[in-house]
């Protein structure tokens, strides 16, 4: 039996050149069919998309044997694989990942609505042969992902706070992997959603924008805790409308203003969302995209999954950091002068508006409102994460409160708004609220 190492020929499964499958019925009559999708599972397993009840499927269910021919898009080498059918999966990470990929393929070839995944058929590959014949010399690889990943890893190791970690991750993606468009989102378990804390390569950062678990490429990756990679443009997994949907029917008069658009390319042709997992906990999603078709490969997916694992670990460590022992002396800032800033808070959604403009909502909205109250009523401007965690007004969850990440988000929203209110980190677990204008706080019930 030949050695089967499918990981050595993963480029064959990227979908550039269709695979061909041969099966046979009980009478020995062969059947040949082209395949839309062959999914690499591991070095000895692949999955094929089951979309129709056809001859191939009926033969497979009968004999459980098949032969597959795949072609390397790099060298034109032809590989013949012998398959043994194991099972069909109709839910879970493999199914969702193939379903998303198929939506991209379908849209690309004008078959949206025709290609629909009924199941992921998993096969063991028992033999793998490269057919003798001419090959094109493989193109010189210009990217050694393992070396670049090590470089990223070393740079992330040097980060000392969450904001720096997010930014460095995005810079690494750009400089080491040439991925210019990327977003980091954090998971908010109570609301079953994700919120943007950092992005790169967009006219608007989109910090503070939200997406529900299960919505679009990002939401599905989060819900299924599996990377989702789409190699062609598809509207099926578009996420632009998700936020609008989330607020539809909201009784709030200002509902539409609460929408911060998610950052995204107008014509995204390749997308990949990688869950940021710390042990078994979903911490967020790293999302990358490109205007090119087929931009991200299996190797890119490996690299980003590995990078996300380190990101998760670093986030976990940094989120747990507290100011030790010494509580900051509450500094009292002199009352600012100038035109007052009208700050309205809608209690129902904890949303905060500066003037007529929506700023932030949810936990970050509650945090900001409390800080501003303390500032307005007591002149306080320095705070610690530790005291926020136990502040009953904030109603933070007991564990995994993501407070650090929410402060990063809040600081960025404030900086982008430029309304004379800012959060400045002053040390580990400590920060200052800088206010340049008098605040006029109005609570709207």
């Amino acid at each position: 039996m030949s050695v089967v190492r499918l990981d050595a020929i993963r480029e064959c499964f990227e979908g550039l050149i269709p695979a061909v499958i041969a099966t046979a019925d009980a009478s020995g009559m062969p059947n040949v069919s082209y395949l839309t999708q062959v999914q690499y599972v591991d070095p000895q397993h692949i999955a094929l998309s089951w979309q129709f009840f056809n001859k191939t499927r009926s033969n497979i269910l009968g004999s459980r044997k098949a032969r597959l021919m795949v072609i390397s898009p790099l060298t034109a080498a032809q590989y013949q694989l012998t398959l043994e059918f194991l099972r069909t999966e109709t839910s879970g990470s493999l199914f969702e990942s193939m379903k998303a990929k198929l939506a991209g393929i379908a849209s690309h070839v004008g078959m949206s609505g025709v290609f629909q995944l009924l199941g992921s058929d998993v096969y063991r590959v028992t033999e793998m042969h490269c057919l003798q014949g001419a090959q094109v010399p493989p193109p010189l690889s210009t990217l050694n992902r393992l070396a670049e990943l090590r470089g990223c890893s070393e740079r992330l190791r040097e980060c000392r706070d969450l904001a720096g970690l997010f930014d460095e991750t995005l810079r690494c993606l750009n400089e080491k992997f040439g991925i210019a468009n990327a977003v980091i989102l954090m998971h908010d378990a109570p609301s079953a959603s994700l919120y943007t804390v950092a992005s790169q390569g967009y006219p608007e950062s989109g910090v503070g924008s939200e997406i529900a678990l299960g919505e679009g490429v990002i939401g599905v990756a989060a819900r299924e805790r599996t990377p989702i990679r789409i190699s062609h443009m598809t509207s099926e997994y578009g996420y632009g409308r998700a936020v609008r949907e989330a607020w539809r029917g909201s009784p709030m008069a200002d509902a539409l203003a609460l929408e911060i658009p998610l950052p995204g390319l107008p014509e995204s042709r390749s997308q990949m969302a990688v869950p940021i997992l710390g042990c078994d906990r979903l911490m967020g999603v790293l999302y990358v995209e490109s205007p090119q078709d087929l931009r991200f490969t299996y190797d890119d997916e490996d690299a980003l999954v590995t990078l996300a694992a380190q990101l998760a670990m670093a986030m976990h460590i940094m989120q747990g950091q507290e100011a030790e022992a010494v509580q900051p002396v509450p500094a009292v800032q002199q009352a600012p002068r100038g035109a007052p800033l009208l700050v309205r808070r809608f209690a129902a959604s904890d949303s905060v508006f500066f003037g007529e403009d929506y700023l932030i909502k949810g936990v970050a909205g509650r945090v900001l409102w409390c800080l501003m109250q303390d500032f307005a009523q007591h002149g306080r401007s320095t705070f610690s994460n530790r005291e926020l965690r136990i502040d009953p007004r904030l109603r933070l969850p007991d564990v995994n409160d993501n407070l650090e990440a929410r402060l990063v988000l809040l600081a960025r929203r404030l900086a982008e708004r430029g309304a004379g209110v800012a959060i400045e980190k002053t040390g580990r677990g400590q920060f200052r609220l800088n206010v340049e204008r008098p605040l006029q706080l109005v609570e709207v019930s």
């Binding site: 041969a22 020995g28 069919s33 034109a76 057919l131 001419a134």
Partner: protein, 167 residues
């Protein structure tokens, strides 16, 4: 669809022209163990009435397919045009391995040019396509058969149905 009682051919003129064009050709056979086998075709000869088809394949890459066909004559061949996804499959139980003549070799050369053109239009490099279809003229064999079943396999609701005239 099986051959009707009057033995009239399965394929109409448009379908014959399709098989003769720059389309991707894959051939399947089935061994005694029930395990199928595959080889890529490099052009074909189709009788004007569609009653006889010969698919040209590289000798070295088709050894097992030749053995299977010698043993049982069963063959399936699928033809697809990458730019449109139009696909049809023909089958037979009377296939045999044949030698090529000079006119067949000319068909192989013309097929390569046509397939290069077809794939070039959707972005594939010529050297890739020619490498995929490479085989010395003297190392080709023909797989000849009278199609007795034909199916449309263009993706969609009719995929897998017996071929109809004009499809």
């Amino acid at each position: 669809m099986t051959v009707p009682a009057n033995n009239s051919p399965l394929l109409d003129a448009g379908q014959i022209a399709f098989l003769r064009g720059g389309v991707s050709i894959s051939v399947g056979s089935c061994g005694s163990s029930g395990l199928p086998q595959l080889v890529r075709g490099i052009g074909c000869r189709v009788a004007d009435d569609g009653s006889q088809v010969t698919i040209f394949v590289p000798e070295a890459k088709s050894q097992q397919v030749q053995r299977d066909i010698f043993a049982n004559g069963a063959i399936a061949a699928v033809f697809t045009r990458p730019s449109t996804h139009r696909t049809l499959q023909i089958k037979s139980r009377d296939a045999r391995v044949t030698a090529l003549n000079a006119a067949d070799v000319a068909l192989v050369h013309a097929y390569r040019d046509a397939f290069v053109e077809e794939l070039g239009a959707i972005g594939f490099r010529e050297d890739m396509v020619r490498t995929l279809l490479a085989a010395p003229d003297g190392e080709l064999v023909g797989l000849s058969f009278r199609p007795t079943e034909a199916y449309t396999q263009t993706p969609g609701p009719n995929a897998g149905k017996p071929l109809e005239s004009g499809a």
